[in-house]
Symmetry: C2
Subunit: 258 residues, 2 copies
DNA sequence: CGCGCTTCAAGTGCATGCACTTTGGCCGCG
DNA sequence: CGCGGCCAAAGTGCATGCACTTGAAGCGCG
């Protein structure tokens, strides 16, 4: 990722740097949906002025990772359940394009690179979930990058990141074991040029991730506090264990990158 | 009609306003690819400071409509031929999703609205091309909006705008007559819930727009001057008018769509 | 004891100023 | 006559200051 850093396009890069950092923090769930991102705190943390931080926030907002509300502190986006489903749906469509594009056209080097990445995933399996999620996401982004189509790259990256977001909202502990083997199988199919098969695998892969991970709309984790409180408003009969303090918000003052 | 749209999200709206204006200017080809967009000129024109103009430019850059180069004046993006093809390809994938989502689910009011829009297209047929293009684009955006899926809306809008851009680079005078009847037919199929048929129509529609409009890579109008000059640099023997001389990236045939 | 109003601090919205970079013209030199 | 370097104008990069908005604590009133 430090590769094409200073191409000379894109904003100076301090903005880019902040974006990348924030994105990473978000997909690793160091920043949960709803986390506040005050401009000055950001600026201070990254050693830049609010102007830059603001710009970065703007970019991230354009990608749908943060929410900007006028005169309010920016927050990490909290996609609705419906949006989450849509996101996966669209992602599927986009990744099919990737597969179609790539099938039978992968160079040996590319295949090797992909395999190496999956090896890394394997290795990180016992590490923190955050890392597995990031690696799994990066695998897909890597595929997109290999299409060499800037637009496709952008869209797939964006949506993959958004998926991480929804995952961090609506998923349970996470289980990425099968994902890894599915990644391997996908590589094989792509390398062999079995387009249809590869597409089917991608379908199945994403579909299973979605249905396995996306747990029903019942209780969105970091969602609006009012949602969490909702069941308590109904009746005062033994509320389930929810270790969240009511008013003050357990987040303390400003959160920034971990 | 330029009044609302600010539910309270998004930037203050002066930024939004500039974005919208610029987008419109771009898709109507009042601003050709490569056109310069200096911050202060923009700011002056819209009665705001460079800060705002800059922010707008940033948004547009995120959408791929303008290009930002460090320390240089921002310009309207000039997608390469390859990107143009990719764009249409991806667009097709996205619009298929739209169709699938919409098929058989359109309310009477929606159908009416669509038909009214196509009527407007019909009416504008003798007007300037710019308007026809805008209307045709808006038709597709309108469809996307009806899916009620924010992400899909965003992506389709974005890519539709980008297509306008490529059209203004690589298309001939334009002929949108058939597009109108195709729009009508599409509405009918959608209303009738004939998903497969509707998808096929969308395929055909976009494909024909692409292949009809996108005239070969021969002479990209506003594209990098170096490309145009390349064949002349080789030898001074009568430069052919279409020959692809440089060893540049493959203009090689790529699956358009299935 | 609770409820609404006031007041204040945190935070954003935006403009402006200054430094740095790029560009293109001008001039002197070969 | 051409060519390469200097210089000013134009433009961006970024920080900072001030006005405005918002949320909430504090306070008085019922």
């Amino acid at each position: 990722m430090a590769r094409d850093e200073d191409k000379d396009n894109r904003v100076t890069d301090r903005v880019g740097f902040i974006c990348r950092s924030l994105r990473r923090a978000i997909i690793e769930q160091a920043l949960e949906p709803g986390a506040k991102l005050p401009e000055d705190a950001l600026g201070e943390r990254f050693g830049v002025s609010r102007t830059i931080a603001r710009h970065a926030l703007g970019q991230l907002a354009a990608e749908g990772l943060v929410e900007l509300r006028r005169n309010r502190i920016a927050v990490v986006a909290t996609p609705s359940w419906q949006e989450a489903r849509d996101t996966f749906d669209i992602r599927l469509g986009l990744e099919r394009l990737v597969v179609r594009q790539l099938s039978g056209r992968l160079t040996k080097a590319q295949v090797a690179k992909l395999q190496a990445h999956v090896d890394a995933e394997e290795e990180a399996r016992n590490g923190p979930d955050a890392v597995s999620i990031r690696l799994a996401t990066e695998f897909h982004v890597m595929l997109a990058v290999m299409t060499d189509s800037p637009i496709l790259i952008r869209y797939v990256s964006e949506i993959a990141y958004r998926c991480c977001l929804t995952l961090s909202l609506y998923s349970r502990p996470h289980s990425s074991e099968c994902a890894i083997s599915e990644h391997r199988a996908l590589i094989a199919a792509l390398a062999a040029g079995e387009t249809e098969k590869a597409m089917g695998m991608m379908d199945h892969h994403l579909d299973s991730v979605a249905s396995r991970a996306l747990v029903a709309p019942g209780k969105p984790r970091g969602r609006d506090i009012m949602d969490i409180l909702a069941p308590y408003a109904e009746a005062e009969t033994a509320p389930p264990e929810a270790g969240k303090a009511p008013a003050k918000g357990g987040a303390g003052r400003r959160k920034t990158t971990a």
